[in-house]
């Protein structure tokens, strides 16, 4: 990214336009969406469609109202919608999904002047809004691989707008998945001291938001983006690396209390957040050292919130906080082009 952004004239023509990058991100998200539908069935599919459609409609409305013409073609609203849908529980009522989609674009993006001006990742703004508005609904899950997932919807999916979600107990019973608990792995670790095996995570056999269960797939899709240079590989590496490092130190210091680093990396939304959200170009720094600091900040904050905070998952707030800090990070890590001869700041990261 730093190779193509923020360079003074002369500009050499490159086929890599914003639209092109964004479209490739959408492509990279597709396998994860398909995996989610395979895991959770019809409800997951309609949720992804609804959230994305709301994002697109909101984007259309605001771009028209502010006289910018059609901004749907840059694919950014589509990315926001897909990412947002992947962070919500698959049984999330559609009307709440629509609220999340609207909040993401309206509060997270249009308010600040559209693509490129938003200080926060819009998908996370939407997610934070519904987390604050519907805290209990966003923490209720249905089991993955329920046997009737392709023949019937989860009842709460079609909850009437503005109403309390329909009860899912009967549906979950029919799912015939043994030993289902409504809590996510992070929740079970925090409150019951129960840890899952690495195999559970890699196969997606845990309860969580759609985008939190497919670490390998996310890595593959992220790898594609990084290889084609559509994404800065340093950010996810810094995020995951710093989270794992801190988790490893704490695990060694107090072995019985804190889980292994691999659990921290694979559970929750850390992978999705590191690969697809922290790397959002508009909300991350561009200076080389700044990128490492920004990534490390997210990783450390995630672990700190998970271990010591009141919430079970910290990725969302970690990224939002780092988003807020990124202009400051950028300012402090500006490479000195001229002026007093100071030592090269771009060199020694960490």
């Amino acid at each position: 990214m730093s190779k193509i952004e923020l360079r003074a004239a002369p500009h050499v023509h490159a086929p890599r336009s914003v639209e092109n990058i964004m479209f490739n991100v959408v492509l990279a998200l597709m396998p994860i969406c398909i995996f989610s539908v395979w895991q959770y069935g019809l409800s997951s599919a309609v949720l992804i469609v609804t959230v994305t459609a709301t994002c697109l409609a909101t984007e259309r409305f605001f771009s028209k109202a502010s006289g910018k013409g059609n901004t749907l073609a840059d694919w950014s609203a589509t990315i926001t919608g897909l990412l947002l849908a992947l962070t919500l529980p698959p049984s999330f009522p559609l009307w709440m999904g629509a609220v999340a989609g609207f909040a993401a674009i309206a509060l997270g993006k249009a308010l600040f002047g559209g693509l490129g001006f938003n200080p926060f990742n819009p998908a996370l703004v939407g997610r934070a809004f519904v987390q604050a508005a519907f805290p209990s609904t966003i923490a209720s899950f249905v089991p993955a691989f329920a046997q009737q997932r392709f023949t019937s919807f989860v009842p709460s999916t079609w909850t009437a707008p503005l109403m309390i979600p329909t009860d899912n107990t009967g549906w979950i019973k029919d799912a015939a998945v043994d030993a289902f608990t409504g809590a996510t792995p992070l929740g079970r670790w925090k409150f019951e001291n129960f840890t899952y095996t690495t195999h559970d995570f890699l196969s997606g056999a845990v309860t969580a938001s759609a985008g939190e269960t497919s670490a390998i797939l996310i890595l593959l899709c992220g790898g594609y983006l990084a290889l084609r240079k559509f994404m800065d590989w340093r950010i996810p590496v810094a995020v995951v690396g710093s989270a794992a490092l801190l988790a490893w130190i704490l695990h060694l210091a107090v072995p019985g209390r804190y889980p292994e680093p691999l659990f921290v990396v694979l559970s929750g939304g850390l992978m999705l957040g590191a690969v697809f959200m922290a790397t959002d170009m508009a909300t991350s720094p561009v200076t080389p050292l700044g990128i490492w600091i920004y990534g490390a900040l997210i990783g450390v904050l995630t672990v700190v919130i998970r271990y010591f905070g009141g919430l079970t998952e910290g990725v969302m707030y970690a990224i939002l906080i780092a988003n807020a800090a990124s202009p400051l990070i950028e300012q402090f890590t500006q490479p000195r082009a001229y002026g007093t001869a100071k030592t090269d700041t771009a060199g020694g990261a960490k």
């Binding site: 308010l111 604050a132 805290p135 309390i164």
Partner: protein, 225 residues
């Protein structure tokens, strides 16, 4: 916040000034502390608005009556004492009317004394204006403030509790939006109203280009990044 002083505005202008053109919340963005804190329901908003209106009108009347007796050097002290007096009056009055309301408004009744609309109006307007227009202007400002609070409080109560003035709108199965009764909800709703206002004014300014321009105060939100 200096008012653009026109040549001898009519009493009607004085009254209407605060309702729209100089609306304390949506145009001047003043008094944000109670605006964000107490607007969790429509009834709280109205009570707070009316309490502020009373303090505003009464203190502006007194300031205006005494404006020639107050030396410039001690004017701020005088204004604050006058404002604090009427805030105390309102504080007792609300306790006498309803303790529930008093609990709901909490410290924010006493904090009216620090609301910048009050000192702002006393200093910028009442201290230079005869009693009748000064009181009318203050009254208009107060009503404008009340309308602003009500606009925010109404939205927050509808989404946060499914009610308006305590009357249930959507039946027993309504899912409350918890965020709306928490402090962030106040910011969200205020921001949305500011956008609506900025938008409305921009459209109006675009339609009648030449003269309207100088009255358009840029709000904090809007396209200027």
């Amino acid at each position: 916040m200096s008012t653009p002083e026109k040549k001898a505005p009519s009493n009607m202008d004085e009254l209407l000034d605060g309702l729209w053109k100089q609306n304390p919340i949506f145009v001047m963005v003043l008094g944000m502390c109670p605006t964000l804190a107490v607007t969790v329901s429509a009834i709280n908003s109205i009570s707070m608005g009316l309490a502020t209106t009373f303090v505003l009108a009464a203190s502006c009347l007194l300031v205006s009556l005494l404006r020639n007796a107050i030396p410039k050097e001690v004017r701020i002290a005088s204004f604050i004492v006058i404002i604090a007096t009427f805030v105390t009056v309102v504080d007792y009055a609300i306790q006498a009317i309803s303790l529930d309301l008093y609990e709901a408004l909490g410290a924010y009744i006493k904090l009216i004394v620090a609301n910048c609309i009050l000192l702002g109006r006393a200093e910028a307007h009442a201290a230079k204006t005869p009693p009748i227009p000064a009181t009318l202007n203050a009254f208009g400002m107060g009503i404008g403030f009340t309308i602003g609070l009500l606009a925010i409080g109404g939205v927050r109560e509808i989404l946060g509790a499914g009610k308006l003035f305590g009357i249930s709108l959507f039946g027993p199965h309504f899912q409350p939006w918890v965020v709306m009764v928490l402090p962030p909800g106040g910011f969200f709703v205020l921001a949305c109203w500011l956008i609506v206002f900025a938008w409305f004014k921009q459209n109006k300014a675009n339609k009648s280009k030449p003269q309207q321009g100088c009255h358009t105060t840029p709000t904090t939100e809007g396209s200027r990044a």
